[in-house]
């Protein structure tokens, strides 16, 4: 094969480019770390364990969304027996109060873009919120 040099050279170039993200970060001293979440002070887990939430919080939120918007059923009883509003802004963010320090940590790390924040507020007024 007279093209052997060209082919091998091209292959090496390709492998180098494809693995660029890996060795560039190593060289720059910024290896990837798993995201650190700021967890709320009280670990109540009213809707499921952390493992369940990690795997299924999206399904829970979608189910809540359809139950509230299409079913008109606005409240849910948590595992602690208390009644909560099925609301991202009012209930989830009551404890997980900072989107930047909680939600965005994992979603940014995994590049899993969510459209929630296109419409829903990630900030609550300190007072004057109707509960």
């Amino acid at each position: 094969m007279s093209d052997r040099g060209l082919i091998l050279g091209g292959l090496l170039l390709f492998v180098g480019l494809i693995t660029l993200p890996v060795w560039y970060n190593v060289a720059a001293g910024t290896p990837s770390r798993p995201p650190e979440l700021k967890l709320p002070a009280q670990g109540k887990d009213p809707f499921g364990t952390a493992e369940y939430m990690r795997a299924s919080h999206m399904s829970l939120l979608v189910a809540w969304r359809d139950e509230v918007v299409r079913g008109g059923e606005r409240t849910v009883v948590g595992r602690d027996g208390k009644t909560y509003a099925k609301s991202l802004t009012r209930t989830c963010m009551d404890c997980h109060s900072s989107r930047a320090e909680f939600c965005d940590r994992c979603h940014g790390y995994t590049s899993a873009r969510v459209s929630c924040w296109d419409c829903h507020a990630d900030r609550r007024l300190a007072e004057g919120s109707a509960r």
Binding site: G72, S115, C119
Partner: protein, 255 residues
Amino acid sequence: MSLDRRAFLGVAGLSALAVAGTRSLDALTRRGRAEGASEARAATRWAMVVDPGKCRKDDGCTGCIAACDRAHNVPHFSERAHEVKWIWREPFDRAFPDHGGSLPEDAARSQSVPVLCNHCDNPPCVRVCPVQATWKRADGIVMMDYHRCIGCRYCMAACPYGARSFNWLDPRPRIKEPNPEFPTRTKGVVEKCNFCEERLALGRPPACVEACTEGALVFGNLKDPRSEVRRLLRSRHALRRKPELGTGPNVYYLV
């Protein structure tokens, strides 16, 4: 087992058909069950009665409009083409174009009336929505699901009252007084008055009704014979917009 191309295509086609078939069967056998139906809801028929006579004559009174915009993060676009409005005022002749036209000295001529979604009994918008992003709830409210809307604007073409608005651009920068208690919408979806169903769920009246200082807007349950709306409709003549179209509007205008 070796599968030749023809057999593979056949299996793939049948599988796709099966999935589509079960979905369609689900849809067709839903038997028109109203979503969110419950006994309490079925005993309610929300309606609004507007008394244009009490509506302040100057067009400067926009208390109902401001309250609605604030409660629901309705954006304000200065270009008329991109306007988003849930409730607004129209001259009487334009809200009621088929009522013979007023002579210049007629009382109705100078009157402007608030107009909004009529939450019709037989809504054309609900009929045409291809994804059921809008539907009629058991208590009469024509609801919107902004998560499902694909932005085809067929409902806007279908509405005979021009009650619906589309988000041609991102609404968030154009919200005058953001209310974090209520979501905004995003560009590319249709929106309209929802009779404040989130306030009704808490036992509160719609924002426009609460804000009106003149008592021109009355809201209540048509199925309750003792409600204020029934009382008003028993004692006064009322018009509805374009009743000949068979839509069955639930916003009444006293004459």
